[in-house]
């Protein structure tokens, strides 16, 4: 996890002077500096060394990258203060060392806007839990349980605040009383995804909200792809819970692999469209996540979790039909017709049995059928 591991390695991020910082803020507030421009700026700063005024370096690049004028800068500054947000620049104490280490070829963000109650949280090792915005009920449950188990083991949970798996992971970590960080694909001041305001506040209170975009930046597709490199870079391991064929989670995982980080994938059914991404990753050598406890043990080095998938012992209080049906359930939704065929029970007995399993917490009803809990 150190720069010595990568061939083009470099030392820790260079501390920047006050003047350099204000130049960086000007670039950051402009909101048009992508990763490539950031690299250019940093390289120019490093190459110039102490012989040249950093403000001049940035000013020289200004024309290319369109940084912010004084009026815009004042406005962004006021907005950041209102959000209680700070600018973290590479080289600052608060800049996550893992993130810097992830980019031997200078791909790490030069700056991050951050808001949150516990800024040091982002310096600690973290695990990314990511997945599709259109999860199955089972995927949601897995993400929540993972978030909770990691939180209970004292591991910070990083994700992207997207609907579905991401939000479930954040919620799980909050439920587990732990720390969680969201890396946004929009500015910190934008209400996105819609109706996620409460969750964003809770995440900020537990850990931090991070974004490399100026506070007012609205959602644009490429921003989310660029954001994924920060999620994978912050984490020592990335878990993909569910994702479709061309999922953003798949990209996050591939970035993590390229950064030399562990990639875990939750195995799913070959018939479930939402399991396409994890299965593809497993084929390419990702580590199968076969149990939450095992995973957390491997990550944290100590088995402290109780949030695993331990099915409550309900067999003793189930009817005979329900017991028969419980043995037939799995993670792929089962229809009434399929259960009838497999169990040879009549329709009304299958319906009653399935409802009994749901009632007793041994099954979960999804729109496509019932799954085991």
């Amino acid at each position: 996890m150190t720069s010595s591991r990568s061939p083009g390695g470099r030392g820790p991020a260079p501390p920047l002077s006050r003047a350099q910082r204000s130049g960086v803020l000007r670039l950051a507030a402009g909101g048009r500096a992508d990763a490539a421009v950031q690299q250019q700026v940093l390289r120019a700063l490093l190459d110039a060394g102490s012989s040249c005024a950093p403000a001049d370096v940035i000013a020289a690049l200004d024309r290319r990258v369109g940084s912010c004028d004084d009026i815009g800068l004042t406005r962004v500054g006021a907005r950041l203060r209102a959000l209680h947000a700070t600018l973290i620049v590479a080289g600052d104490d608060d800049y996550p060392p893992h993130l810097w280490d992830a980019w031997p070829e200078l791909g790490a963000p030069l700056w991050l806007f951050s808001t949150g109650a516990r800024p040091p949280a982002i310096r600690r090792p973290a695990v990314a839990v990511v997945g599709t915005r259109r999860p199955s009920t089972d995927g949601l449950r897995t993400a929540t349980a993972l978030g909770a188990a990691l939180a209970e083991a004292g591991v910070t949970v990083v994700s992207g605040m997207a609907r579905g798996i991401d939000q479930a992971a954040h919620r799980g970590a909050l439920d587990g009383g732990g720390t969680t960080i969201a890396v946004l694909g929009t500015g910190l001041g934008v209400d996105y995804p819609a109706r996620s305001g409460d969750l964003r506040l809770a995440v900020a209170a537990s850990g931090a909200l991070l974004s490399e975009l100026p506070p007012g930046a609205g959602p644009r597709p490429w921003q989310f792809l660029a954001r994924n490199r920060i999620i994978s870079g912050l984490a020592i391991a990335t878990v993909v819970v569910e994702g479709r064929e061309h999922s953003g989670a798949l990209q996050t995982a591939r970035l993590a692999g390229g950064q030399g980080r562990d990639v875990w994938a939750v195995p799913g059914s070959i018939n479930a469209p939402a399991s396409a991404a994890p299965l593809a990753l497993l084929r390419d050598g990702a580590i199968p996540l076969t149990g939450i406890d095992d995973f957390v043990t491997a990550i944290s080095g100590s088995a402290t979790s109780t949030g695993g998938r331990s099915t409550p012992d309900v067999a003793w209080q189930l009817s005979a039909d329900a017991t028969t049906l419980l043995d037939l359930l799995g993670a792929v939704p089962a229809s009434t017709d399929a259960l009838m065929a497999a169990s040879t029970l009549p329709a009304h007995a299958v319906l009653a049995g399935v409802a009994e399993l749901v009632d007793r917490g041994a099954g979960v009803m999804t729109p496509h059928g019932v799954v085991r809990s």
């Binding site: 599709t132 259109r134 999860p135 199955s136 009920t137 949601l140 609907r163 579905g164 939000q167 479930a168 919620r171 469209p273 939402a274 009817s319 229809s335 009434t336 017709d337 009838m340 009549p346 329709a347 009304h348 299958v350 319906l351 009653a352 049995g353 399935v354 409802a355 009994e356 749901v358 009632d359 009803m365 999804t366 729109p367 496509h368």
Partner: protein, 478 residues
């Protein structure tokens, strides 16, 4: 009759045909050979503010005059009613709307109804009334004077209904077949969720076959509605149709056609024509919100009230609702890839007044090839109808109505404690609304009735919950 210019005036009649009644009566009596005095004759249709139309009061006006003239004794017409139009030559013509009039007369104590030949069969459907067919005024006068016996009404034989399609034709779909049986036994409203072409309309049509035949009262009411709607062609019905109706209006139907309407006096709409039967609404999400909301009153009260310029009418509308919709945004045919949250969001569009009244939401699957080639034999309509009849009898015996309308406190009293606790847990878990509690319990009551049990046990409640699992009263999972 009074002094004045000789003539026949009818007052209180609205419409040209009514006002001309005097001329028709005069001509018909003259043709029959009854001499009218050269005096002014005045007849009044009271109350004057009730709109009348057509010539159906001709016969009654004529009889009143004949009694006044002493041609017919008053004793010969007591307890009798007369309905028909007079031709100028004295023959009696058939009129529309005889059945509702006959039913009303029977209710109000009339013993005999004289009608034209063409109306005799229709009037004879009301068994409490002695319907007498009369060809012309001569025959009428002879019968009223007791000089001639009334001709017997043509014997009506119950018409064999059109062959009802059999439930055995439906392949697979065990969940929906079971839901249909419960719906039939408890008169519960049902929503069929399934991809196009999986047999939703087929099932809805077969529900009618599983229902018991209509009672005489129900059949009379329905025939009367059809008569008012002008659906009984020609001379009217010859036998009482006891088959429960199935009406399947298209979603482009107007409010007037669905609920009843038209200028002047509203005609009954589809929901009234579906009385004591099934109203099938396919493609539920295509229906305008406004129409779905308008169904609330009839669903709750069993009738619909329509005000138009000339009258406010109330038509019966005690129908059983069967809706159909795709299970998810993609339609669900050929393997659905919709995410769970999308499907819940889609089904949540059915919120509001209608969702609150649906108790059964079976999911139908697209048919597999082997089901088409090698269908597994399934129960026929006759078998299921037998169980349904027994269960309905049990419910009617217990609280005189079907389980859909059973009083909640009484239903609770027939359930075991642990069964009620299951529903309580479902409410707590957020999968059942408070209102859904009693609705699910009524369905459980029907399940128990189908099993022939007096007490609602946990298995029955579990099944009831399973049947509404696709509805999700409350947003439970994120």
């Amino acid at each position: 009759m009074s002094a004045g210019l000789p003539g026949f005036t009818v007052i209180g009649a609205t419409g040209a045909a009514g006002r001309q009644a005097g001329d028709r009566v005069r001509a018909a009596l003259t043709a029959t050979g009854v001499r009218l005095p050269s005096r002014k004759i005045l007849a009044s249709l009271a109350p004057a503010d009730v709109p009348t139309s057509g010539a159906r009061f001709d016969l009654a006006l004529c009889i009143a005059l004949l009694v006044r003239l002493g041609v017919v004794p008053a004793s010969g017409v007591s307890g009798c009613a007369f309905l028909g139009e007079l031709a100028l030559d004295g023959t009696i013509r058939a009129v529309s709307g005889v059945l509702p009039a006959a039913a009303h007369l029977a209710e109000h104590g009339a013993g005999r109804l004289f009608v034209a030949d063409g109306n005799a069969a229709e009037a004879a459907l009301v068994s409490a009334l002695d319907s007498v067919p009369v060809r012309d005024l001569v025959e009428l006068i002879e019968i009223c004077n007791g000089r001639m016996a009334p001709r017997p009404t043509r014997q009506t034989t119950p018409a064999a209904g059109p062959p009802v399609s059999d439930l055995a034709d439906v392949r697979g779909q065990a969940e929906a077949r079971r839901a249909l049986e419960i719906a039939a036994a408890g008169a519960h409203h049902m929503l069929l969720l399934g991809p196009p072409g999986c047999g939703k309309s087929m099932l809805a049509a077969r529900l009618v076959g599983v229902l018991p035949p209509l009672t005489e009262l129900q059949a009379l009411e329905l025939t009367a509605i059809r008569s008012v709607a002008g659906l009984l062609a020609g001379s009217g019905p010859t036998a009482l149709d006891r088959t429960p109706p199935l009406r399947a209006p298209h979603h482009a139907t107007t409010a007037a056609a669905l609920l009843g309407g038209g200028t002047g006096i509203a005609k009954p709409g589809e929901i009234s024509l579906a009385s004591h039967g099934v109203l099938f609404m396919d493609e539920l999400f295509e229906w305008p919100r406004r129409l779905l909301d308008a169904l609330r009153e009839p669903l709750e009260q069993g009738h619909v009230r329509i005000a138009r310029s000339r009258a406010t009418v109330r038509y019966p509308a005690t129908f059983q609702l069967v809706c159909a919709a795709n299970p998810c945004p993609c339609g669900g045919a050929g393997g659905c890839e919709c995410a769970d949250a999308q499907v819940w969001a889609y089904r949540r569009r059915l919120s509001g007044p209608l969702a609150d009244r649906i108790d059964l939401a079976p999911r139908l699957r697209a048919l597999r090839a082997h089901q088409l080639v090698d269908p597994v034999p399934v129960e026929s309509t006759v078998t299921v109808a037998g169980r349904v009849a027994t269960a309905r009898a049990a419910a009617l015996d217990r609280w005189a109505v079907l389980n859909r309308a059973a009083p909640p406190t009484k239903v609770r009293a027939t359930a075991r404690r642990d069964a009620l606790h299951i529903l309580g847990r479902a409410v707590e878990a957020g999968v059942l609304s408070g209102r859904g509690f009693d609705r699910a319990l009524r369905v459980a009551r029907t399940c128990a009735d189908l099993a022939g049990e007096d007490v609602v046990a946990s298995a029955h409640v579990h099944e009831a919950l399973a049947h509404r699992a696709a509805l999700r009263d409350v947003r439970a999972a994120r």
